[in-house]
């Protein structure tokens, strides 16, 4: 009797081993090292010097870090909801069998399949203020390079606000994965419930508000949490490749780029580790808050 579960457990451990090994060596190990380095001064040449909370007090006074932190938070606050909204709208639009739904779905997913650096370089061209297609389209019908309304088209790469908008704009097209998950979630919803709504003469707004949204809310919640965590990542490459952290003063320097520069260009590993740690803690806090909200909602869903 007792050997059966034992065998099951042994098999479980065996099958988990490769993953756990990878997790410890590649993720937990570096994390612990980062944690330790955050309290030191380290330049890769001399051995680390313990400085206690020195790095953190310096961070609180560092205007560049403060800018980077605000940039990251604003990016997450704007880009994440917009990404979810667009992916949801596309999923609800394209979940039915309809003409051209297949190609449209492919088109929605495709940008996410482009390698990040290539995607960045592509946007560098798209956003070029003079000969980039975006501004050329915006200047259509206008004169002297101005838009129809006589305004200067956005200076994507040189104006701080426009550059931030450009980074957000770039992130709005890489929603392929979110889109696929929402598409699958929508398609897995029971059909009969929608037929019943049709019999009750519910308007499409009622159907969306009272049926579709509540039923896919758990998935949306999960994607929200995931995107908040991920938003740190997908601001890094565009900021590095397209705007190079600029335009001045540090308009698109986000925390990951700040940490990258501090570590690999200024060789201040301890300081970079501290910055990373702060961002990590903020992410954990954000996720914890969302998780609590979701749990409260999830109680209505237990089947």
């Amino acid at each position: 009797m007792s050997t059966e579960p034992d065998r099951g457990h042994r098999q479980l451990r065996l099958m988990l081993a490769p993953y756990l090994l990878g997790l410890v060596v590649l993720v937990l190990g570096p994390f612990v090292i980062t944690l330790a380095l955050a309290f030191t001064e380290y330049d890769l040449i001399r051995p680390p010097v313990w400085t206690g909370t020195g790095n953190f007090t310096e961070l609180t006074r560092d205007p560049i870090f403060r800018t980077a932190l605000v940039n990251s938070l604003v990016f997450a606050a704007v880009a994440v909801p917009l990404r979810l909204l667009i992916a949801l709208a596309l999923a609800l639009l394209l979940h039915r069998r309809a003409m051209a739904a297949g190609p449209a779905r492919t088109a929605a997913v495709l940008p996410a399949a482009v390698p990040e650096i290539a995607y960045g370089l592509l946007w560098l061209w798209l956003l070029n203020p003079l000969y980039g297609p975006i501004n050329q389209v915006l200047a259509l019908g206008g004169q002297n390079g101005l838009t129809v309304f006589g305004r200067t088209p956005p200076q994507w790469l040189t104006d701080p606000a426009d550059a931030r908008a450009a980074i957000i704009l770039m992130s709005l097209f890489t929603i392929g994965e979110t889109f696929i998950i929402l598409l699958a979630a929508r398609r897995s919803l029971p059909h009969d419930v929608y037929e019943l709504a049709a019999l009750e003469d519910a308007t499409s707004w009622d159907v969306l508000r009272r049926i579709t949204l509540p039923l896919i809310a758990p998935v949306l919640g999960l994607l929200l949490v995931r995107d908040v965590i991920q938003s740190l990542h997908f601001s890094f490459v565009p900021a590095l490749v397209v705007t190079d952290g600029g335009p001045p003063p540090y308009a698109t320097t986000y925390v990951p780029l700040f940490a990258y520069r501090t570590a690999f260009e200024y060789l201040r590993y301890g300081y970079a580790a501290a910055a990373t740690l702060v961002m990590l803690l903020l992410t954990v806090a954000a996720v914890a808050v969302q998780w609590r909200l979701l749990r409260r909602y999830g109680r209505f869903h237990d089947r």
Binding site: P190, D192, E195, L199, E200, A202, R210, L215, F300
Partner: protein, 344 residues
């Protein structure tokens, strides 16, 4: 015409290229409970979905209380449907499920709740209103679905095999309640099932459907006592009616005239007598199934296998010789070619 609760006029329906209903004509009287009975794939559910507006009508017209609804969308037909799966909203409480149809029609929340409570009370689920579908048993969900269908006071009720997901005991109980409910409300109802007992018990009239065509429309008594076709005769009744060619192995007692092999003689298992009076046809008992008080004895007569329902206490043993006798009064005559009943 305006007297009819529901009229189908030459209605056809298709899934892609496959036709599932063929120019069906059907009239359901106002206040009547019509049961649509048929095997899987006969087009029963399509018929229901077509009336509800969930499936397009390829040709013909659908009228509800004299109103042509053929091109109206489902929400404008004023019908309620109870789905086989109940189709309850998993994220809403029973109460919110019941009020859904009222709220999307802009009935005030307070009024909707009051009506929902009344509807729930009438089907005995008033104590379940705060629960979600996930916390309800199959029978309880069925009641909530029923209350939701009732609450709007529709012109027509549609039931899509609502009892098929219940366990047998509950099914019998709910069947009785459905019948009582219909008697009380008197709303025109169409109830789809493949369960012949359900059909015989519930129906004011039964429409037997086969391959998208109406085989017979009649009261349960008519369906049982004078089935219009071989198909109806075999489909209703368990075990199925025996069919042997006339002039064959079985000669019913008191048959007025000799019939040729172009006629089929049908008689129910309970009409077969096994008492050896010397005049019956000789047979051998091949197999005996005992079902509680009853026994179904399968008898071999030359090329034919005949079922007799006998009391379990008086059942023969397999291998026994037996004599089969049937009275002419219990015999139905069908045309062997067309399968149609031959009037006598």
């Amino acid at each position: 015409m305006t007297d009819a609760g529901l009229v189908l006029e030459g209605v056809s329906a298709a899934y892609r290229d496959a036709r599932v209903l063929h120019r069906l004509d059907l009239e359901v009287h106002r206040g009547e409970l019509l049961v649509v009975l048929g095997p899987s794939g006969a087009g029963k559910s399509t018929l229901l979905r077509l009336v509800a507006g969930l499936h397009p009508v390829a040709e013909g017209r659908v009228l509800i209380q004299g109103r042509d609804v053929t091109t109206l969308r489902p929400g404008r037909r004023n019908v309620s449907m109870v789905f086989q799966s109940y189709a309850l909203f998993p994220h809403l409480t029973a109460l919110d499920n019941i009020t859904f149809g009222l709220e999307v029609r802009d009935v005030s929340r307070a009024a909707a709740r009051e009506r929902a409570r009344a509807a729930a009370a009438s089907v005995g689920c008033a104590h379940l209103l705060d629960r979600r579908p996930g916390q309800l048993s199959g029978g309880e969900r069925q009641r909530v679905a029923l209350a939701r269908a009732l609450v709007r006071e529709p012109d027509l009720f549609l039931f899509d095999e609502p009892l098929s997901n219940l366990d047998p005991e509950l099914r019998v109980e709910t069947r009785g309640e459905l019948k009582a409910l219909h008697a009380r409300l008197g709303v025109t109802s169409v109830h789809v099932t493949h369960d012949q007992t359900e059909a015989l018990v519930l129906a004011d009239r039964i429409a037997v459907l086969r391959d998208g065509r109406l085989e017979q429309l009649g009261t349960p008594d008519e369906i049982w006592r004078s089935p219009a076709t071989v198909f109806v005769a075999r489909f209703v009744g368990s075990p199925a009616m025996n069919l042997v060619p006339a002039g064959g192995p079985v000669a019913p007692e008191g048959m007025p005239e000799a019939l040729g092999p172009e006629r089929l003689l049908g008689f129910r298992p309970e009409a077969v007598r096994l008492d050896p009076t010397g005049s019956g046809a000789p047979a051998t008992v091949e197999r005996v199934d005992v079902v509680g008080e009853d026994a179904h004895a399968y008898l071999r007569l030359a090329d034919h296998l005949i079922v007799a329902r006998v009391p379990a206490s008086a059942r023969p043993a397999p291998g026994d010789p037996a004599e089969v006798a049937v009275r002419w009064a219990d015999v139905h005559v069908f045309d062997a070619g067309t399968g149609q009943r031959v009037p006598l």
